[in-house]
Structures are given as structure tokens and as C-alpha cells.
Symmetry: C2
Amino acid sequence: MYISKRGMRILDGNQPLVAAHYRCASDPWHPESNPKGYINFGTAENHLVFDLLKNRLNASPDIREHHTHYAELHGMSDFREALASYLTDYTGVKASAEHIVTATGSSAILDMLMYALCEAGEGMILPAPYYAGFDHDLKTRVQVEPVPAYTRPEDGYKLTLEVLQQALLHAGKRTIKVRGIIITNPNNPLGQTYDRETLEMIVKFAADHKLQIVADELYMNSVFGSQPYVSLAEVAAEAGADIHLVYGFAKDFALSGFKAGLLHSTNEKVLQVVRELAYFMPVSNATQQILINLLRDKDFVKHFTDENKRRLKSASDFTHALLDKAGIPAEPTDAGFFVWMNLSKWLDSETFEMEFQLYNFILEQARVNVMPGQFFHNAEPGWFRLCYARNEQMLETGIERIRTALHRLDEARLTIDPDSQSVSESE
Amino acid sequence: MYISKRGMRILDGNQPLVAAHYRCASDPWHPESNPKGYINFGTAENHLVFDLLKNRLNASPDIREHHTHYAELHGMSDFREALASYLTDYTGVKASAEHIVTATGSSAILDMLMYALCEAGEGMILPAPYYAGFDHDLKTRVQVEPVPAYTRPEDGYKLTLEVLQQALLHAGKRTIKVRGIIITNPNNPLGQTYDRETLEMIVKFAADHKLQIVADELYMNSVFGSQPYVSLAEVAAEAGADIHLVYGFAKDFALSGFKAGLLHSTNEKVLQVVRELAYFMPVSNATQQILINLLRDKDFVKHFTDENKRRLKSASDFTHALLDKAGIPAEPTDAGFFVWMNLSKWLDSETFEMEFQLYNFILEQARVNVMPGQFFHNAEPGWFRLCYARNEQMLETGIERIRTALHRLDEARLTIDPDSQSVSESE
């Protein structure tokens, strides 16, 4: 049977994050019933708050007849109004329902937005390390090229003007026309927020080079550290610049399975294109109604958000303490679900091949999934992302398993006789 | 701000069906509170069964923690199994969960399927008149060309081999490579089902010309007439041919707002491509869970389906009787929500311009939305689709308004003095 060339092309689309997720899901750890199962610290999900949501999600959704029929496919006005009010409350910038388009998650939003902003083959700058899914979301269907702007561990992963300029230069050499920049703030995989000064630099850089700004702020309400969250929307508004804000329920509301995302843009032409595409990827009215019921109870949202941040901070502190005890260095975390660990001292050579071997070693030996930095386009091999938004028992068990596996590596090295090694190499 | 060329292109995408739908929705008729409001007989929705669904949709959805997290984006296995069982029960062909991909409605399914089957610029044959939305679904994003195969009122809209061959010939003249054929069975806008002989002819025609077969069977459980529903899946299976079956909850379950559709295909490569694309347009787990709860109660589904058919038949009979009384001829209806009316005797000239004027006249004067045949690529001007799945009072009021408006046209003609008319024409 004939398959189109464009169809065949996307069959190459291989997402290691997704593959590892399902591998773990097929044999998941349970302290009593499956103590040898996989522990998944690889998927960016928040497992700390279902108890807070359960009763609300299971109340009668209050589906009326109009919900069963066609509604605006870029989001019911009730839904977009509740979302605008939420954004206004938490980003500190006045948002508006007319500027919102909803769709089936932030991948869907990005897919539509990239279609509107770029031709196939054009590029978007992404400060690296960046969320691994961007490669899939940008390349698969809309054929937009990610252009990494490499921040470096030795600079504390600071995003500087030089880093962005280097990326532009590099894109030029690859003859990629760059249309914009995508900023994930708070950052995934670093688990850190950008300070106001950096955001101002980004806005100026974008203006100087006529680049559009996409602000992925999916973790905006998962910030608990000393560095406060400042929305790019606010900084851009102060500078009189437009941005396209991407948000959703997957992270801050721990509802990745509900596949509900939004775009807030102040550009009418972009909105028109995205609304037209949203026809193909709308959020079910039933799901919208459940989420409206959540959002409208502002006291609940406030309580939930505060409690979520408290639990994230507690789990983050707990994780850092365990890693410290295990002798594993890590960057500080002040947002998101991530601890960015440095396992480079367990690499025999400083290569991404070796990093990938270490990844597989931990997955096979420890049966723990932690994602290697190369999936996030990290500049230097040896770093891993650990998603810590899990219960303490799982964190203890998983990190103990990693410690044991790394310890075995250390011991193997000590017992290798350098002479016999060199002999075997010369054979 | 820069908008991509591909973005600008789809801004032309203008859907008259959708525009008229929202115009009516902005000022809807109500017998007491808004007796002068618009009556919408234009949108293919079933308004007869919400009472049967209401309590079930509003029961606790039984959302568990795993529903809040990532699940297979082409449909949870529970959902695909329930759907496979439903298809097996009602198409008479054994369906399988592994052969199913779910997504946000049948437009989403078609968008993905066309991406897999055709390059941009290639074509699909559609027996005309056909569902107006196909133009949008095929052309907007995937840039596939609909190739109408014109059936004709004088032949009772019979789909013959000659009609299909003419379409192929015509596509060849336009140098469009045809990749397949899309059959809507039961048919929209005709409200009729294809007999087994015709389906066998289609399968043979497709095999002879190496065309893929897409069976849009969204109305398969809205059949109530003398002509029974036979699935193309069954006829194709007997002939050893593969087909791609499109189904969803919009029509037979009257849940167009839930945006849940499916593809059942036995071709593994097609499934792979469509699964990959489904990543961008998944059905929310919450909505899947509500639909699983419905489908699993097979007694309910049986009762609902039988009662729905009974109500559709009753409303169809009622509508035909009203039209008959109003002197409006119409094709017989045995499925779907449609009466296909012949208003050609109210056209001053046999042109589609005049048909469009009559459409606007009825919309403005009668404040009733009925869709003109040109939106469905009907071969001859003067035909209109009336969606009758509304309550009897609305049907009476709406058809009486149409009758009055047409009567006014008749009177205007009679009172025009042919001489003064010719004088004014010669000026």
C-alpha cells in the first residue's frame, strides 16, 4: 500500500523520552507488589498532588446540552475567560479571552504556532539544554529547525547575549533563516528561572534581530526557590514588544493526561492562523468544563498552588539531600520538577557515546530511568535530568539504586589492572 | 509581524457552514424567550437524545491518578478496546484495538490520514454531493485536492461506475494524481445509504485503479429506513481489500462537542504514521474515560441506539410530512439527519448564483439556515440540505417560515408585470 513521502519521513521520528516512559510503564516499581520494577525519574510529571484534585475531578462535571454540541473550536468563551483570569492573576499581565486559543496540549500549540511563524526549513533559537520534546514538536510536522544556543555548566548555565549571538551566527552558517526564539521559563531541564535582567536582554536581542518571542511558561506556578518567577510577558510588555505565551495544565496542575494547552498572543494575524488550525485539535468540551469548574474556584486554585509549591520544595530538598549523601553533585533547583545531576566523574571518557552507555547502564542495572543531557542538547557530556516529583519512598529507593550502580562502576575501575588492560588493548 | 506564507494561505480558508452556524448561535430561536431568533437547520447535529445521555455524562467520571498522567496519545488501550468491541458489534466485522488510532474528531482523523496517503497536491475522489467540510479538511493543512464524482438528481443520485470513471478522467485532465476514494456511508447530505451492489462496485473500482478506500461511516447507527446499513469494511473484507474506516461520537452519539474520532485501519504503515501525528491531537483522558463508561454498558448502548433511530425516523417522517404540505419536494430519507429538498422551482434561473441568492433570502427573510447544494458540490442548482434532528415545534416553526418566504417569492413573481419588466430591462 502506498504511503506518502511526507508520511514516510515522520516514521523516522523517534522520541527517546517517550520510549523510555513506556518501557518503565510496562513494569512499574511498587514497594510491595513489584519491588524490582522500573523507577521512572525520566518523565516530567508531578505525582505529588492527586489527592488535592481527586474529589474535584470526580464531581459531576455539570455537562449541559450545549456542551454536547459544537462550540468554538479554539476554546469555549467560558473556558478562555477563566484562563485569561488565571493568567492575569499569576503572570501579573492583563490577559484577554480574545487573545487565547486553546488546543490539545502545548505540543499542539507549538505545532500551530510554528506553522504560523515559520516556513518549513526556517529556524527557532532555543537556549540549550532545552526540553527534549521541542525537537519532535518542531521538526516532525512543521519542519522547523531548532537552533540551540549553548549555555555552559562552567558559567552556571547563564544565558548571555554572546550565547544568543553565537546561535544566530551558527544558524547563518547552516543557512537557516531564524524567525524567533523560544524561552522555557522556568527552565526544563535545569529547574531554574531566569532573572529579570536576562529576560530584558532576551527581549532586546529579539527586537534587534526582528525575532519573534515564544515564551513557554508551563512551570510558572511550580516555582518555590529564592529566584522569583517573572513572566516574559511582563518584561516584553514593558518594552512594548509582543510575545506568544504558551501555557497548559500538564505541569502546574499535574494534568498532563488532560491534554489542554493554550496560546496567548496579541498578534491578530497569528491568532487567525492558529484559530484556523485549532479546528483540527480542539479540547473536548467535557474536559473544558471540568477545567472551568477548577479554575472558577479561585480560592481552591490559590490553595492548590501554594500547597503544590510547598510539596515540590520539600521533595526537591529531600532529593538534593539524598544525592548529596550519595556523593552525586547537582545544580541547585528553584522551580519545576528537575534536579540536574552531574555524573561526569563516572564517564570513562568525555563523550556523549559514553554518556549514553552510562544512561543505559543505570536503566539496566539500577532499573531507574534518568534522562541523559544529550537528549536536551546539553553542551557537555555527563549530566542527567532527574524528575523528583515522586513520593519519598520512591526517591529513596531510586537514588539508592543509582548510588549502588555508580559504586559498582567505581569498584570495577579500581579492580581493573591497568597493565592487563593495556595488554588487552594491544592485542 | 511576519506571518509565514503557509500561514497566510490558510487564512483564505472560509467555511460557510461554520459561519452560518455561529450566526444562528448568536441569536437562537426560542419559542417563548426569542420567537424571532434564527432557526438552524444547517448544522448536522442530533438534538433529540440529550435526555438519554444527561445522567450518564454527569455521573462521576471515575478519574484515577493514571488518567491525570500521560497515556498512549493515540488512545488509552481501555478506550481502543471498548471502541473495537463497539465496531465489531455494529459493523459486523471483527475490529481490533491495535488497529485503532483515536484523535480529536473525524476532521483530525482525516487530516492525519490524508497526510499519510497523499502528497500535497494529490487527490481523493468524493462522490458528490458530499459533506461540505471535506473541502476544508482536505485542503487547509494537508493540501489534498477533492475530486468530485458527480451523481445526478435525474438518476436518483445513483453512484455508478461511469460516475467514478468520469471523476478519474477529469482529475487526469487537471493532472491530479488520485490516491483514493472517500465514501460517506450513510451519505451526507443525501441522508441515504449505499446498497451492497454499489459498495462492491466501489471496491472493485478502487482495486482496478490501485486506489485506497476511506470509509466515513459516522452515521452508521443513524439508519432507520428500508435500506439497511452495510459497512464498506464488510464488503472490502469479502473482497480481500484493505480500507481505512473513520468513525466518531459526533453523530450516532450526538456528542459533536466531545471531539472524539477514530481510525480503524489494517495497514501497519498507515497506522504508524497516523499514531505519530496523533501525538499532536489526542483526546483528553478525562473525555476518554467518560466515553469508556458509556461504551462498556452495552445494554445502554443498544437501548440508546434503538431509541435514537426511533426518534430520528419519527422526526424525519414529521419533516417530510410538513414539507409535503408546504409543497416542497424532497428525496426520501433513510439515514442521518438530512432531508434533501428540491427548491429549484423557486429559482429564477438555473444558476448557482441564483441558488445562493435563495439561500440568503431564506436566511434573511425566514431567519432559517438551510444549506444550499453548492456547498456540497451538487451537480445542479436548487437543492438544499435541511437537518431535521430537532424538536417538532422547531420543525413546524422553521418549515412554516420557509413556506411563507417561498410563498412571498411566488406572489412577487405573479405581481410583476412582464411588460413593465421588459421596459425596465431595455432601459
